[in-house]
Amino acid sequence: MLLTVENLKTYFYTEEGIVKAVDGISFILPPGGTLGIVGESGSGKSVTALSIMRLVPSPGRIIGGELLFDGQRLMEKTEKEMREIRGNRISMIFQDPMTSLNPVLTVGEQVVETIMLHQKLPRRKAWLKAVEILELVKIPRARERLKDYPHQFSGGMRQRVMIAIALACHPRLLIADEPTTSLDVTIQAQIIDLMKELKKELNMAIILITHNLGLVAELCQKVLVMYAGDLMEYTDIGTIFRGSKHPYTWGLLQSLPRLDRPRSRRLEQIEGQPPSLIKLPPGCPFHPRCQYVKAECRQEKPELIEVSSDHLVSCWLYQ
């Protein structure tokens, strides 16, 4: 396995109370595999990613669990050792390509900085390498564009630059946190195609964090559905759309307006709203909104059950 996450718990200790952003998540990712983490805002998908990078901001802390990357325990690494891993072996791209680039440095300086830092190349060689990777992400006239500032790039091009920086050192794992959310749908299609191609070419694993189940269908082999910091369902991509078992997954799929189906009169909606992470309901976090709620759901958290091979569900319906 390239990455094994076991019972990861990341809590934020705020003045109002303890926010259980991630509360016991486990999954595995083989080399070259693709995993989609799906959930609504506040479900803990981004915090899961930051935890893997050991970049959880204060007052957050990883309070439990095991992170194994390539057989190494990430939790035992010093900050210095982590810095070797970040960028070199695990890279991350963020949602907003507008704010993740420094506006007062040219794009070239920012790409070259990464290459020099991680690969210890002299400046001139790093520039050549930068041209190479900008061409890899299909930025036209890469050599000239390296001298431009971020504001001279469009949103889609900026996200390409971010991907270029992330891929500069050929990481084995790329974590993409909502990489296309701020982009238009035709530009999103370009970026997803690019990521697919690069994945094949460089044989890296991808974790795609998104709220868009359509994107997961495009890019991923496995899906993990999160709700209120908890894992609801984990299975492969075919099963999630055709044989999902968790009522929350059902609700999510039914509440989407669909282009591929005839227009319905009303959307099926999940009533209510996600719980506050400070005052989580007892038992299953989804029970206040669940149609199939039983007495057990209100009292105790369900165990993660393997309903069939490679299909894990956390729900009292199957206990």
Binding site: E40, S41, S154, G155, G156, M157, D184, V185, T186, I187, Q188, A189, Q190, I192, D193, H211, N212, L213, G214, L215, V216, A217, E218, I237, G238, F241, R242, G251, L252, L253, S255, L256, P257, R258, L259, D260, R263, S264, R265, R266, L267, E268, Q269, I270, E271, Q273, P274, R289
Partner: protein, 345 residues
């Protein structure tokens, strides 16, 4: 329910056009210099668009960012002043009205904004926010006003007892409901919904879409629904208009548009939407490049630099919007040359 509205439309006001937009243009000047500022060019945000909305129907307006869809919505309400064109609401050209007449008319024309976090004043209670139009239009005061506000809170699915709470005490979905209540309080006929669900999570989005549906049926509302999410727009709209760089490229019934889009841009737009299923892997038409700047839009057809079917004429001449079928209009040179025979790629 939707059928209910449809038959109502068919019986009562089949041809009753509520809103008629003719050759609407909005150019924003680009100025240079601070003291002796002069205009050096224009952003052609909306450049001569025509459409009509019938009583009780929902027209969806889609397009990518910067295509002018929000500008169109705001220009219709005269929240920004159009550069030229005509807007007939209920047969009356509203661009000829003065400030006071326009204010009276705004009772009938309201707007729901995209961002439920930025569009509510954090220092007003939601009762004051929702009730403000009643004060401005002198519709109700005192106890009567409170009663009307509580009634609306109930209609949009909020607890009427929360009338004295502040916006920060509500979640995103609830705030959007507050925005809907505020738009509804003056009993409008027409509502511009400018990306009303794009800031919301999937499960909450469905709730708000259903709410807008139900309200339309209950109060006979007419919507201009502006959004970039094609699946949402197709779901809620009777007809859909597609914009590109300030121009209308195609307009048709929403099912027809999805099944047989004629304009290469519409086809690409639909094919780019990722479908949450595996059996639906269709071949995507991936458009090259980005949307050009509306300051110097391309010559001829504005879509030609990205169009997979571009011809010589497209670079020279702007296509006229032509009728291909009932209720289906397209602005593309291909349509003229092959009498509408362009199939979905």
């Amino acid at each position: 329910m939707r059928e209910g509205v449809r038959s109502l439309v068919a019986n009562n006001f089949q041809d009753e056009i509520l809103l008629d937009v003719k050759n609407l243009k909005k150019y924003f000047p680009i100025t240079k210099g601070i003291i002796f500022s002069r205009e050096i060019g224009y952003v052609q945000a909306v450049d001569g668009i025509n459409f009509q909305i019938r009583q009780g129907e929902t027209l969806g307006l889609v397009g990518e960012s910067g295509c002018g869809k929000s500008t169109t919505g705001r220009a219709i309400l005269r929240l920004i002043e159009p550069t030229s064109g005509e807007i007939f609401f209920n047969g009356q050209n509203i661009l000829q009205l003065d400030y006071r007449q326009m204010r009276v008319l705004r009772r009938d024309m309201q707007i729901i904004f995209q961002d439920p976090f930025a569009s509510l004043n954090p220092r007003m209670t939601i009762g004051d926010i929702i009730g403000e139009p009643l004060l401005i239009h002198r519709l109700a005061n005192g106890k009567e006003r409170k009663k009307r506000v509580q009634e609306l809170l109930e209609i949009v699915g909020l607890n009427p007892e929360h009338i004295n709470r502040y916006p920060h005490e509500f979640s995103g979905g609830q705030r959007q409901r507050i925005g809907v209540a505020r738009a509804l309080v003056s009993n409008p006929k027409f509502i511009v919904a400018d990306e009303p669900v794009s800031a919301l999570d999937v499960s909450i989005q469905a709730q708000v879409i259903n709410l807008l549906h139900d309200l339309q049926r209950e109060f006979g509302l007419t919507y201009l629904f502006i959004a970039h999410d094609l699946s949402v727009v197709r779901h809620i709209s009777d007809r859909v208009a597609v914009m590109y760089l300030g121009k209308l490229v195609e307009i048709a019934d929403s099912d027809i548009l999805y099944q047989s889009a004629k304009h290469p841009y519409t086809q690409a737009l639909f094919s780019a939407v990722p479908i949450p299923d595996l059996k639906h892997r269709q071949k995507r038409i991936v458009l090259e490049g980005d949307v050009p700047s509306p300051v110097n839009p391309p010559s001829g057809c504005r879509f030609h630099p990205r169009c997979p079917c571009v011809m010589t004429i497209c670079r020279e001449k702007e296509p006229k919007i032509l009728k291909v079928e009932d209720n289906h209009y397209v602005a593309c040179h291909l349509i003229k040359s092959s009498s509408g025979g362009l199939s979905r790629a």
